[in-house]
C-alpha cells in the first residue's frame, strides 16, 4: 500500500453519496461554530479547519482534520485524523490518529460530521495538560505501514478528557 492514511478508496455508494450531499448542505447552512469546511470537489474526503476554543489550552491554534468516508457510510464510521501537526493531547497521537470512541466502536448513523467535530473540539477543550499519549512512540511504530486508525483495537480507558 502506497497511499499514507487513505483507506482502500472504493467509490461512495449511492446511499452514501446522497447522505453526504445532505450533510454538506446542512454544514454550509449552519456549520459548527469555529469550523470551516475547505471547499473541494471531493465529496469523499473533507478537509476541515478549526481554531481551538478560547479560554482553553488550544486557544487560537489552528488545526486541520481529514475526514474520509467509506463506501458504505453511514453504516460505517468515517475515518477522522488530524493532518500533522496534530494538537498535543493525551488522546491524540503524533501521526494524527485520535482515540475517541465515537469514531470506532460507538459510532452510530445518528451522528454526523458536524457532531464529530463538536466532540473533538470538546475533547480538546476539556484537556488540562498538553502531552502525547504515554504509548505514542510504540503506536507510531506500529502504524508505519500506513495503517488506518480504524484497524487499531482501541482501549477507551479514560473518559475524563
Amino acid at each position: 500500500m502506497t497511499s499514507s492514511s487513505a483507506p482502500s478508496r472504493k467509490a461512495l455508494s449511492k446511499i452514501a453519496c446522497n447522505r453526504l450531499q445532505k450533510e454538506l448542505v446542512e454544514w454550509q447552512v449552519s456549520p459548527p461554530a469555529g469550523f470551516k469546511h475547505k471547499i473541494t470537489d471531493n465529496l469523499q474526503r473533507w478537509i476541515i479547519e478549526f481554531v481551538g476554543a478560547s479560554g482553553t489550552l488550544y486557544a487560537e491554534e489552528t488545526y486541520q482534520l481529514q475526514v474520509d468516508f467509506p463506501e458504505h457510510y453511514p453504516m460505517e464510521a468515517p475515518q477522522v485524523v488530524f493532518i500533522p501537526p496534530a494538537p498535543l493531547h493525551p488522546h491524540i497521537y503524533s501521526n494524527g490518529h485520535i482515540c475517541l470512541d465515537i469514531l470506532y466502536d460507538s459510532w452510530s448513523p445518528a451522528m454526523t460530521v458536524s457532531s464529530i467535530c463538536i466532540s473533538i473540539l470538546s475533547m480538546l477543550s476539556s484537556s488540562t495538560e498538553k502531552q502525547r499519549p504515554a504509548d505514542n512512540d510504540r503506536y507510531i511504530k506500529n502504524c508505519r505501514n500506513g495503517r488506518s486508525p480504524k484497524e487499531t483495537r482501541w482501549w477507551f480507558h479514560d473518559d475524563k478528557v
Binding site: 453519496c17 446522497n18 447522505r19 454550509q28 447552512v29 453504516m75
Partner: protein, 301 residues
Amino acid sequence: MFTSPSQGFMDFFTETFQISQSTPPSDLYRSVYSEIEEVGWKHLVSFERDPSSVNFSVIDENERKHILEIRLPQNYPESSPSIAADVPYICEFKWSMNSRLKDIVQQFQQLLQKLQKFWSTMDSIDKNLLVIYPKQPTLACSYRQIYLGNDCCLLLFIDAQNPTSLPGCRFLGLNTTTEIIRKKWQRNGRKWSNERSFIENLSLLLETNIPGCTTTFQKEEWEIECGICYAGQLPLGDDSQANNGEYPDYTCDNPCCQRAFHTVCLRDWLRSITTTKKSFDVLFGSCPYCSDPVAVKINAS
C-alpha cells in the same frame, strides 16, 4: 396569592421587584406610549417592560406581514434602540435625540420596499423550481437548494441587495455529473443578464430545463427522511433492486423519538454492529437515535 412561598422564591421576588424599581421611571413609559400612539395602536403586537421592547406588525406592499421588534435601551431615547426582524439584512438606522419610534417604523418600511425584489425572486424560485431545502424558508433566508435531476442539486445563494444578479452557487452530486454542469455554468456565466428573469437566466446557464415542482416526484416525497440514509425515497445504486424508491416504513416506537427509517437501512445498520441479537429471522438492537429497542425482520422487503 402565594400560600407558602419558599425562601428562594421570596428572594427572587424581592430582587425582581427592586430591579423594576430601578428601571426607567414611568415618565419614560408615558413618552413611549405616546410614541406608540403615533405609529398606531392597531400595529402594536406586544409591549414588554423588562427588558423593554416594542413589537409592531408591518404589512408590506405585497401583503406580507412582518414583525418589527424594537428593543429600547435603559437610557432610551439617548441611545438608539436596536431592532430585529425576519429580513435578510438590516440597514443602519438613523437615530438622534429627537427621533421617535415612528421614524424607525418608517425606515423599516423603506427597507421592506427595497426588499420586494428579493422576495419576488425567492418566490419565483419556490414556485417554479423543486426546492429541497429549506422546506419552510423564512423571509430572511437567502439560499435555496434546488434539484436538477440525475441526483444532482444546486445550492443557490441569492444576494439580497442585488437579487437579480448572478447568485453564488455550489453543485452537489456525483463528481462526474456535477463536473459537467459546473463547466456549463462557468462557460455561460457571462450570459447572465438582469433583463431576464431569474429562472430564465438559470436555465440559460445550465443549458437545460430545470425540473419544476410539476415533475413526477412531488415535494411530499422529500418530507419524511430516513434517519440513516437521509433520503425520502431509498436511493439504491441498482434501479432493478426491489426496494429502490421505497419510503421510510419503520418508525421508532419511543414516543419521544419517533424517528423514521427504511427497514432496509435499519437492518443493514443492525447487521453491521456486534451488539445486535438475532432470534429466528428477527434482528433485535437499539435505535441509533434514542437507543430504545428496535426489531426488524431479516428478510424485510
